[in-house]
Symmetry: C2
Subunit: 255 residues, 2 copies
DNA sequence: GTGTGTGAAGCATTTCACAGCC
DNA sequence: GGCTGTGAAATGCTTCACACAC
């Protein structure tokens, strides 16, 4: 439906809730898989299960994008893939630089999920001269001295920091000064950036700590410890069909 | 699905809100840094800045743990480190196995943040016989066939999956069957697990997509594209002093 | 009948703002 | 006087439940 009204409805100018934005990539991944299997349409129930959320949430999320479904039928897979891609800005190609080519940086460089989703690794950068010129994932590593030039020549606006914590802020400052306005930070440090620059962080040890917290309460049954503190015991968290944590948080990659 | 019951009345009594749990590791990291510099006390304002959140939120978070501060003064650094560590279950040692020793698995094995935080890499596991016996981060890789034995012999309850997406569910099933009850998943797939098992996921391409979404609206403006319509705004995001994207909810999940 | 789209209700989290203790 | 701890208000997110379109 589109044609007629397209008003961006309602949702007021602000747009789409952050929580919804964080789930769009999940829907997109599930839809892409369906698309590859040539499935023409899906119901909110099926898609929700594939994405690991519940259907009411999914329908609500989609309602912020517009009315892209057909009552009594479901959603057209291809059409939704396109709409979500567009909403996320993936119909354009984003050049990305990865700074810090250690184990993690190399893992990121090799991550296939980039290219397939509108991202292109424009350059790999490391401060170690010994790495300069050496190819990683087919791309030669360049020295940090070139950072500013690389950013400018390639029109890079998204940078990934995979350096040790001690170097992160400095790298961040240089990226920002060179024009980067979105940063994905893997270093365990809080980065400070000027207004207008977005930072998202992924911290492996934080995720593990959160798991440890819940793990601790499972075996500990008595609840008691101390005083009445824990809730009931065994079942700690919730219930729904959701799998994702996400609401936001962290994020990922495979290798 | 799930459910039958549901609603755990949740966090009632002493239960700590998920959003708070997700921030405790941040506070702990900031406090550890202060501790290393031998700083004896901090105010909520200072600590909040170091952790990248605002002070009201931090005080509220701490209020769920108890009254560990001193009015007019602030918090005792060492004491808080201890209390938070205890709350997170880090005063005990958690053996962890990493399955899938590709670039990412190797990066995780080498990640120093583990050992320093109550986690111990008990074993590295990979399906490639060519890797068996080869040391990574000083630990010899073991073959997948040994998975169940390793889990049991070491009393492992937390597993990290860093395999390709196609192998993830299978690995997950084996981990769970062998007794693992918390899983950190780096593979871009939704895992299904029985009730009582927590899964957290980290997905790099999702994080990048979220950045792309915001990036798009910055320069955006012209926008147009197609039919839809982006809102107008140039500056969409944010505001506060927080750095994390997080806002979101974190994640745990049962399944 | 079937499954979407969405007000309205229900919860959770954040922020405010100030009383209370040092 | 300074800074914590916390009710209460504000905001944001999720779930419910049902009218409506197909």
């Amino acid at each position: 439906m589109a044609t007629g009204r397209t008003h961006r409805p309602a949702t007021r100018s602000r747009g789409i809730p952050e929580a919804t934005v964080a789930r769009l990539p999940l829907y997109l991944r599930a839809l892409t898989a369906l698309s590859e299997r040539s499935v023409p349409t899906v119901s909110s129930e099926e898609l929700a299960a594939a994405a690991g959320v519940n259907s009411a949430k999914l329908r609500k999320d989609f309602s912020y994008l517009g009315s892209y479904g057909t009552r009594g039928v479901g959603y057209d897979v291809e059409y939704l893939v396109y709409q979500i891609s567009r909403e996320l800005g993936l119909t354009q190609d984003w050049p990305v630089v990865i700074v810090g080519i250690g184990n993690l940086g190399a893992a990121l460089a090799n991550y296939g999920g980039f290219a397939s989703r509108g991202f292109r690794v424009a350059a790999l950068i490391d401060a170690d001269p010994g790495l300069t010129g050496k190819p990683v994932a087919g791309i030669p590593v360049q020295h940090t001295d070139e950072l500013e030039k690389i950013i400018k020549d390639n029109g890079v606006s998204i940078g990934v920091i995979a350096t040790p914590a001690g170097a992160a802020q400095q790298v961040c400052d240089r990226l920002v000064a060179a024009g980067v306005t979105s940063i994905l930070n893997f270093a365990p440090t809080v980065l400070s950036v000027p207004d207008g620059v977005d930072v998202r962080k992924v911290d492996l040890s934080i995720e593990l700590q959160i798991l440890a917290f819940h793990e601790q309460r499972k075996s500990g049954e008595e609840t008691a410890a101390g005083d009445g503190a824990l809730p009931a015991a065994v079942t700690p968290r919730d219930d729904s069909t959701d799998q994702g944590p996400d609401g936001d948080v962290p994020a990922v990659m495979p290798a």
